[in-house]
Amino acid sequence: MRAALWLKVSLTISVIGATAPLRAQGVTRDQLRRECTDALSLQTVDSLGAALHRRTPNQSWSRMLAAWSPADYSALGDSVRALWDTLASGIDSTAAARMIRLLARQRTELSRLDSDHGFLVKEGATARWFEITTGDPGEPWLVNGAEPDSAVALTEGQTALPTVRAVCWTALLARKVADFGGRDARAQTRRVLAARARRWDNFERYGYSLTPLELLLNGWCGFCRGMLEPPRIQLIAVHVLPTYAVRDELGNRTALTTEVAGILFYNQARSFHVGFSYAYSLPAEERRESGWVVHVSKIGQLGITFRDNTYTRENASLLLSADLYRFIENWSGRIREERDAIAKGIQKLRGGQN
């Protein structure tokens, strides 16, 4: 397999004319740029990639990758290695040793992508090993600059052109393979982020509002939510809400209710919540009453409070939040309209029968 690939790469390189005699002295800055970043090198690597895998030199590397079977990452690794083997004869031994170690690491990782689905969708391949860092004037260019002990340095005036070409061309191809091998894991990351964004949207749209005090309190509540997540448990503290107090004998009143303390529980999607709070209500022109308020998501809040801490039906007020009051009004209005429509229909029917 390796020999066949080596032969194929050698022939391809010969065909595209990249085996012209290379000078042994150190490269210039322009040569470094040409071999490591310029269109010429990129096009050559693209052609090589395409030739290796589809035997269609005109097809671009990216189109080839898009059509590639997912279970062939190891074969892609073999191709990268074959390219290296073809280009690396007689080059600087330190650079060669380091590149071979990096390629071996990548080959192991690519095999794992083929065999371990969890690794494929959660981690993916490592692009960093083959990223090329452009050096400032007078500084070396680096491949895998993050790990000084295994970085491959290409230095203006010192590194010979064959070494630069072998290192850069192989690195470009290997990094592209790594980008491709990280595609599933990146897509998985984006799915997780999209789901989190929906949870925040739901929390804003369907959740209970947060006052400044509650924003502070809930923020520092360690068990209320996970990192980067909207609250799953929301604490209520000194939260004022307009309500309507419905009474048996005392007469109905508007009342400003203050929820002293309470707790809400959200579903996983943060689209629904239930909870309760201990509250004081202040009906217009009357004394304060205390009691409990129940929350049912966006429908509203329903509470019961008692005058003078006397828990009798005569002293009880049923609290409807403004939201709930509006909901009931709309609902009763619709019921009334439907009842009237039915009554009219029946009347018509009777009239018709008569």
Binding site: T37, L42, Q43, G49, S60, W61, S62, K122, E123, G124, R128, E131, T134, G135, D136, P137, G145, A146, E147, L173, K176, D179, G182, R183, A185, R186, A187, Q188, T189, R190, V192, L193, A194, R196, A197, W200, E204, L210, T211, P212, L213, L215, N218, G219, W220, R225, M227, L228, E229, P230, V238, H239, P242, L256, T258, Y280, L282, A284, E285, A322
Partner: protein
């Protein structure tokens, strides 16, 4: 290589599309130098820019308080309810009457970010999604074997947000970030203008920007066996910008030649010395930026020397007297001692003094650009 630059705004009012001004400014700055002077949009032509916008998170947090307060006031008036009850007063009183103005729309953003973990997590979640979605889109669409180089330019509060976000992703503080972490990829360059990543009392800072993976590869490893996230770090700080001079970002160790501190800026070309355009106008700032983002050889050393030598320290010259007064006021502000435990309070008081000094300078000389919109 395709170049991708994320731009991240600071505090203040920043709606989607805010970066158009910034990119226009970068185009203008680059076109000062031959051979780019022949092009209309030399920066845009070489760098793809992606904007990060998180200000709506603050707006959505603060604005409902003002709305709720107005509605409650109206409702209590309509229904004859008095707010003389202590508990009710406490409940209603915490809601502000108005949420517009320099304090609410600008100075309070960092206070909310530091003070409320819900706010900072929401901001981080929003920024992470924008950042990773755009990064992945560009990775997927980059043709052939080209290497996509990702850089980030952030200003003021954006430096806190982006530093935190990069630490969360780079160190994979949640497992879903593995494929974008420092273990898998690296960032070409982080450029911070008015770096305030260390602002705030210690207990409120959950991510210490000096100890994370957000450091260049030439710096000591952030953790044994791990790798640093950046290939280069540029940090610009103006001598008369009172916001970034206390609790300043200053690594104790040597971070190597890929960490570049630009702290010799003292020009005054507009009254607000904190604005991003004011930073970027200086060749000491924009030339390293262009070299990092476009190419190390994009501007020659000779061009650089000439640009620095001809850069006027004061603009416009006819406002020299007003600028001299402003310089003195800003110097005094910068020299004020700071109690680190009360740094957020002092952020607000310094901010108000800064605002007043800027307004005074513009009133004294009308041709002096204010520049508060870039804060």
């Amino acid at each position: 290589m395709p170049k991708l630059l994320f731009v991240v705004h600071g505090m203040g009012d920043n709606l989607p599309g805010w970066s158009t001004d910034l990119v226009d400014f970068l185009d203008l700055a680059l076109s000062q130098y031959p051979p780019f002077d022949a092009e209309d949009h030399p920066f845009r032509a070489r760098v793809k820019v992606e904007e990060i916008c998180y200000d709506p998170v603050f707006d959505k947090t603060i604005e409902p308080w003002g709305r709720d307060r107005a509605k409650l006031d109206q409702w209590t008036r309509d229904n004859g309810i008095t707010l003389d009850d202590t508990l009710t007063e406490l409940g209603v009183g915490q809601l502000p009457h108005a949420t517009a103005g320099f304090i609410w729309e600008t100075l309070l953003d960092p206070v909310l970010y530091r003070g409320s973990p819900i706010v900072h997590d929401k901001v981080r979640a929003v920024v992470i999604k924008q950042f990773i979605d755009a990064w992945d889109d560009h990775l997927s669409s980059t043709p052939g074997a080209e290497q996509l180089d990702v850089s980030i330019l952030c200003h003021s509060q954006g430096t806190i947000v982006m530093s935190d976000v990069l630490a969360i992703i780079g160190e994979e503080r949640l497992s879903e970030f593995k494929s974008f972490s420092a273990d898998k990829r690296s960032i070409e360059c982080l450029i911070t203008l008015a770096n305030v990543t260390r602002l705030g009392p210690g207990p409120l800072i959950d991510i210490d920007s000096l100890t994370t993976c957000v450091r260049p590869q030439t710096a000591p490893l952030w953790s044994p066996g791990k790798v640093n996230y950046l290939r280069r770090y540029i940090n610009a700080r103006h001598k008369l910008d009172p916001f970034c001079l206390f609790q300043r970002f200053a690594p104790a160790q040597n971070w190597g030649n890929r960490y570049r501190l630009i702290d010799d800026l003292d020009h005054i070309h507009q009254a607000s010395t904190h604005g991003y355009k004011h930073y970027l106008a200086h060749p000491r700032v924009h030339i390293p930026l262009f070299r990092a983002v476009i190419d190390p050889d994009v501007i020659s050393p000779q061009q650089e020397q000439q640009a620095i030598a001809t850069f006027p320290p004061v603009m416009p010259p006819d406002c020299a007297a007003a600028i001299s007064t402003l310089r003195q006021q800003l110097n005094d502000l910068c020299d004020e001692p700071v109690d680190e435990n009360r740094s957020l309070d002092q952020w607000i008081t310094k901010g108000i003094s800064f605002f007043e000094a800027v307004k005074e300078a513009v009133n004294a000389c009308s041709s002096l650009v204010e520049g508060l919109a870039d804060d």
